[in-house]
């Protein structure tokens, strides 16, 4: 009974502090890990940029297993973090359940939509960015065969794959696309050995450009591509530096900008609802830097820029897998 009282007391104290004005923002990093060199790392970098620029402080937790989702989210809310950014589509159902329990806390979810008055949903137009790197892949391949390695087999990743396939087919209708998924469980985000084997298998089938949209697994894909002497395309973060000369480009998804913006706006600037970050708002794009300049020829650059302009103006509409759960250019 005394223990119960202590716990209740502690809970009340936490609830009180949660109501305090000194709210720090919170960030919940998804499975795959903070240093996946991809999706989660991008969010972490955005948060770090905010820390450097404002000198502020934020709370951060990293999920270690599927079972921790609810527990971690509640703990973060009870510690008084506000707003809280939740990374990844896999947290959707958890957030739907928890958001009504903390009406004063503002939540933002990346890569999914949660319809609650205190939740902001942020989607990226992955199909647009993937279309662009698909154009680059199709211009670069000499074997007319390109590969795609996805992480967990979920609609989000199929959206990447479909956009990529559309870009490839639009540029080179004869090109063959080999698409593989690493797995059907969240461990597929963090299995570079399997990723490497998938990449090697695609190379043996003739692929000479491989696009990895697989979180931490992608590190193994990029490594295998570099070992086998073919090109690869990174994802989410700019991964060009990982294997200069082998990483053709990266489909950057500016999760860092989204996190930075949400942190900077804080509770005052928070607006619930849906925000789509697309090519036009520079939420997605392709990366060119000193590590891959030599690979992106003027011809490729012109073609990509043309596609980019086409997408922004609405002339080209890369198929969005979310709309009908299918892809005209690729079967799964």
């Amino acid at each position: 009974m005394t223990l119960m009282k202590t716990l209740l007391g502690a809970g009340a104290a936490l609830a009180l502090s949660a109501a305090g004005a000194l709210a720090e923002p919170g960030l919940i990093i998804d499975l795959g890990g903070k240093f996946d060199k991809s999706f989660n790392e991008s969010a972490y970098n955005g948060a770090q940029r905010w820390v450097e620029e404002t000198g502020g402080d934020y709370l951060e937790t990293e999920l270690q297993s599927e079972a921790q989702r609810e527990q971690n989210l509640r703990k973060m809310a009870e510690r008084g973090a506000n707003p809280i950014i939740v990374m990844g589509f896999a947290n959707q159902s958890t957030l739907e359940k928890i958001a009504p329990d903390y009406p004063d806390t503002k939540f933002a979810i990346i890569d999914s939509v949660v319809d609650q008055p205190n939740v902001k949903s942020m989607l990226f137009s992955e199909q647009e960015g993937s279309y662009l790197v698909g154009v680059v892949a199709a211009m670069t391949t000499e074997t007319d065969t390109v590969g795609f390695v996805g992480g967990m087999d979920v609609p989000l990743i199929r959206r990447f794959a479909c956009g990529y396939a559309e870009g490839v087919k639009a540029t080179n209708p004869d090109a063959k696309i080999i698409s593989n998924m690493t797995g059907t469980t969240p461990t597929a985000w963090n299995d570079p050995v399997k990723g490497g084997e998938l990449a090697k298998s695609q190379v043996s089938q003739g692929a000479d450009v491989i696009y990895a949209a697989a979180g931490g697994t992608g590190v193994g894909v990029l490594q295998a591509a570099a070992d086998e002497g073919v090109y690869s395309i990174g994802v989410d973060s700019n991964q060009n530096y990982l294997h200069p000369g082998s990483v053709l480009t990266s489909m950057v998804k500016r999760v860092d900008n989204a996190v930075y913006k949400l942190f900077s706006e804080g509770v005052e600037g928070f607006e619930p609802g849906l925000e789509v970050l697309d090519l036009e708002s520079e939420g997605v794009g392709y990366a060119v830097d000193e590590h891959n300049e030599a690979l992106i020829t003027d011809e490729i650059k012109a073609a990509v820029e043309e596609a980019k302009a086409g997408i922004i103006s609405g002339e080209i509409v890369p198929h969005d897998y979310y709309t009908d759960d299918s892809c005209p250019t690729l079967t799964f």
Binding site: P192, V219, Q223
Partner: protein
């Protein structure tokens, strides 16, 4: 299906069978001596971590290999102390090792590198590079044999070849040396070995040392040969698959080779044919990915026949009651 399809699959088979093989042989030694080794997974994991992190720090894969072996040895001896000296429950000790390895690797990794339990990417001399056997270029144009030799047999890291040699060595030690005879006897009937004036404790400890070294090499291959660095939980159940292969192989070295190659092959086929059309029916990806596991169950349940483990397995030896 043509040669150009089959060779890459067999090539991948060899790569994924190698860590299984080392671990399977490690289990063979310890179980033949009467120590059940559930902790193979943990040893593999900790060896992968230490080999990758020391290779990253020193820049030499060989020093990394030694560190991996060392770490795996420590866990192996811990298992020995718990289950031989203190006569504890071998299953519990093994499970504890698995937890220990899974936690330690992340904690130490975070402390050393601050990369969330990863090690930095390895490159150059910090990784095992593929070696090209002599005459590859000359042979490459010969039909059938050429591609087999240059793509399948040549071009692996040294540890792949070492794994095959280890199988032969294990067979020789186990069935052609006095030590092997004693080791097999101690797993079946430790009393008789003791009566013959041979130390049961020493034999079992030496089996644990051999198991530790083999797991260490397996872990090093995983992190510095197959991959280019450590990520948390990278052993991904391979220790348990190796244990299944060991039962499948009925605790025999050459059978172990066959079993590990079979599991490697299933893995490779699942990777290569994610989409397969059989008789006009599309086999879903999920089925192909589950296939290795389904076949494991089917094979273990139906085809292995009667697998009789070493009789003294799992029971600590008490000299006098």
């Amino acid at each position: 299906m043509d040669l150009a399809t089959i060779i890459p699959i067999l090539d991948a088979t060899l790569r994924s069978a190698t860590p299984l093989l080392f671990v399977c042989l490690a289990g063979l030694f310890s179980e033949r001596s009467g120590i059940i080794d559930i902790g193979l997974e943990g040893k593999l994991l900790i060896a992968a971590f230490f080999s990758a992190s020391v290779a990253a720090m020193s820049g030499s894969v060989w020093i990394g290999l030694l560190a991996g072996i060392g770490a795996s040895l420590v866990l192996s001896l811990l298992h020995g102390v718990a289950s031989i000296t203190f006569r504890g429950n071998q299953l519990i000790s093994g499970v504890a090792l698995n937890f220990l390895a899974s936690g330690l690797t992340v904690v130490i990794g975070e402390n050393w590198f601050g990369l969330g339990g990863r090690t930095p990417q390895l490159s150059g001399a910090a990784r095992f590079q593929p070696i090209h056997l002599p005459g590859v270029e000359a042979m490459a144009d010969v039909p059938v044999i050429g591609p087999i030799y240059s793509n399948l047999i040549s071009g692996h890291t040294i540890l792949v070849y070492a794994a095959i040699v280890t199988v032969a060595l294990t067979w020789w030690v186990l069935f052609r040396t006095r030590f092997g005879l004693h080791l097999r006897a101690v797993g079946e009937n430790p009393e008789s070995v003791d009566t013959a004036g041979i130390s049961v404790i020493r034999l079992r400890y030496s089996a644990m040392v051999i198991a530790g070294v083999l797991c260490g090499i397996g872990g090093a291959y995983l992190a510095t040969g197959l991959a280019a660095g450590f990520v948390k939980e990278m052993s991904a159940g391979r220790g348990f698959i190796a244990l299944a292969a060991l039962i499948f192989a009925k605790w025999r070295p050459w059978y172990a080779l066959a079993a590990c190659l079979l599991f490697g092959f299933l893995d490779a086929v699942g990777t290569r044919f994610q989409k397969l059309e059989v008789l006009g029916v599309n086999v879903p990806t999920q089925f192909m990915q589950a296939l290795p596991y389904i076949l494991t169950v089917v094979i273990l349940a139906g085809f292995v026949g009667k697998a009789i483990p070493p009789r003294a397995g799992g029971t600590p030896y008490v000299k006098e009651r």
